[in-house]
Amino acid sequence: MRRLALAAALAILGTVPWWIGGTYYINIASQILFYAIFALGVNVLAGYAGLVSLGHAGLFGIAAYAGARIMNDGHGQLVVAAGALGVTLLVSAAFAVLALRGTGLGFVMITVALGQIVWGVAYRWISITNGDNGIAIRGRPSPLGLSLTTPASFYWATFVVFLLAVGSMAVFVASPFGASVRGTRDQPLRMNALGYHVWMIRFLAFLFSGFWSGVAGLLYLYYNQFVSPQAVALTASAEALLMVIAGGTATLLGPIAGAALVVVVKNVASAYIERWNFVLGAIFVVIVVFMPEGLVPGTVRRWRRALAALRPRPTAAG
């Protein structure tokens, strides 16, 4: 049953360009996928490790900026991808060392500050980042000789990366390492007493999270062929966190659903509803009131309850 559902989901997602009707919607689907990768990355920390980061757009943006710079220096696509992700990992490590001095509110504030530093650099270090005019790149890469210029081909490439991201998340969650990350969230003192190196576990989780944020940032760059300081702004970090919280923290499907929700309301619903910010806000309020655990776990819970209600109950007389 589960396998069947999985196969069906894969078939539906894999054939999006054929049935969705129009390149515009294919592009929206591509955006959902790379924002979902970003949200999955944020979820590693915010969900499984219990460390809420408001600076992840910084990592997302660094990958995009590094990719753009390396590409415009005339390097090949492999160098671009490796370089951008390498830079992102290095910066993630630096961020982690600084931010992991605190947990809870302290961690949030340090990540906000770090994210704002990245924004400041993007905005003010004009010789490197071109300031608020941003950096444009010429064209998308063509891995293995396949051109990604058409919306459909870009969607499939993003889809492959997305599957890798989801797969790595599934492995991570099921692994002993994933269990130890959850352990540091729920019982850090006990984990410490058991001999686990809590700091190192969190550090590695931060790197894992930063890596996928960077991958998403690189896809964002390839998609838009442009990056500017708005991509690393605090609102972008908050939006990623909202995706995770709305969809369901510490779940595999939650961030994906959250990303789909935000991207669709922002881009599609805004064409019909002038006050789309209000709609997005109202949706979040509804989620928080009726499904405080998030869209995906909340729906599952309500679905189970509905099923249970349908089942014939033993009558009082019997």
Binding site: I126, N133, G134, F226, S228, A231, A271, R275
Partner: protein, 411 residues
């Protein structure tokens, strides 16, 4: 309403949208309408200007009864949210889903720069107010038309006026710390210094700052202050400037003395000298029609943004008349857009150069109090101003683009 509800089902399943979209516009036995896509900002900090852009466009279409060169016109408005990624997505929506024939907007330079490569690939004519210099200089887009002007195009005549008519020798500039501010002040500096003046200090407060006091405290020992603020920042600056008791004359760029801001200014703005591509006191029939219409519909006099979009509408109309209402041949329509030459517009006569940038009149105005209202009174007009001012185009383009540090301060 039925359409709206059905369309919102897209949230559940996208496939239906394509079907409903075709239901929404039933085929009528007449030439299909010209579709204009408007990229504007209706949410967030840039929304004030963005909403005026929409008003100007709607006002123009009403004036023409939604009919240009014998074809019906449909307007599709898209809210970019004022960020580049949103602008890109909305542009794709207009081009790929709504099949528009041309795009008006976007508002901000960083939005325009995010879509310029894409629109050029799609051969989509773009008529924007965004003032980024390089869009019509070192990084031109063959499908781009700008009837307003570059950042510095406004400031060149102001600098000329300051040096030659006002005989100012030394000034301090202060502007928002982003590309538009940098380009404006750099343009002012080049012309002012070439005319014998000297910019002694350039101040750059952040775009979002509640308090200009520490910057205003650095002003002194000069003949005048040049401010290049945008949005609602000119209001904040002028108020604090007066509160600190400074009496030096103030010169302002296009957004600083914008007609749409005048109702929000108090006496602190009286005496400010500003430059603009559009001025409310220009006596042309089309400007009168624009002002009357805006006052009637929205209760506000038009400013740069609404007048700018009204003028874009006139450019599109003139181009459609040249092609006999045809837009199918994008190349031909684009050529027609760039060869437009108008005389009676709200900003006076203008043509386009070979980059698609305006060559037109710029106005130096003094803000004065008339009764209980502030008005701008034109004190000098500079006709046929090119983006290269009086410089040689080749020489101009060989220089670096105007920026925060170029031209450098003379020490």
């Amino acid at each position: 309403m039925a359409v709206k509800v059905r369309r919102r089902e897209f949230l559940a399943g996208a496939a239906g949208a394509a079907v409903t979209a075709s239901l929404a516009f039933p085929a009528i036995a007449q030439p299909k309408p010209v579709r204009i896509g408007l990229l504007t900002v209706k949410t967030g900090p840039l929304a004030a200007g963005g909403i005026q852009m929409e008003q100007g466009t709607i006002r123009f279409l009403k004036d023409r009864n939604h009919n240009l060169a014998g074809r019906k016109v449909e307007l599709v408005v898209a809210d970019t949210g004022g960020n580049p990624a949103g602008t890109k997505t909305k542009t794709q929506e207009l081009v790929e889903r709504d099949n528009v024939d041309m795009i008006f907007g976007p508002l901000a330079a960083f939005e325009l720069l995010a879509i310029t490569d894409y629109t050029a690939q799609a051969k989509m004519p773009v008529l924007s107010l965004a003032a980024a210099e390089d869009m019509t200089q070192r990084r031109p887009n063959p499908y781009f038309v700008r009837a307003s002007g570059t950042s510095a195009q406004y400031m060149h005549p102001l600098a000329d006026y300051a040096a030659k008519e006002l005989k100012f020798k030394r000034v301090i500039t202060i502007a928002d710390d982003f590309a538009f501010g940098h380009e404006q002040m750099a343009g002012f500096q080049r012309v002012f210094e070439d005319a014998g003046g000297r910019v002694v200090k350039k101040l750059w407060p952040p775009l979002v700052t509640p308090d200009y006091t520490p910057y205003i405290a650095q002003i002194g020992g000069v003949d005048a202050v040049v401010q290049g603020f945008a949005g609602s920042n000119p209001l904040k600056f002028m108020k604090q400037y007066q509160d600190q008791g400074l009496k030096l004359p103030v010169l302002g760029g296009g957004p600083a003395g914008d007609e749409a801001l005048l109702k929000s200014y108090g006496d602190e703005a009286v005496g400010m000298i500003s430059v603009s591509a559009y001025t409310g006191d220009l006596d042309t029939p089309s400007n009168k029609r624009l002002i009357d219409g805006m006052v009637k519909d929205y209760g506000n006099i038009p400013g740069l943004y609404s007048a700018g979009l009204y003028i874009n509408g006139m450019v599109a109309e003139a181009a459609l008349e040249k092609t006999g209402g045809k837009t199918d041949d994008r190349e031909a329509f684009n050529r027609a857009l760039r060869s437009v030459s108008l005389v009676d517009t709200p900003r006076g006569p203008f043509t386009f150069d070979h980059f698609g940038n305006v060559v037109g009149t710029f106005y130096i105005r003094r803000t004065e109090r008339k009764g209980d209202k502030l008005v701008n009174t034109t004190i000098k007009t500079y006709p046929k101003v090119s983006q290269f001012w009086t410089y040689d185009e080749k020489w101009f383009l060989a220089q670096p683009v105007y920026s925060r540090d170029y031209p450098p301060l003379k020490s």
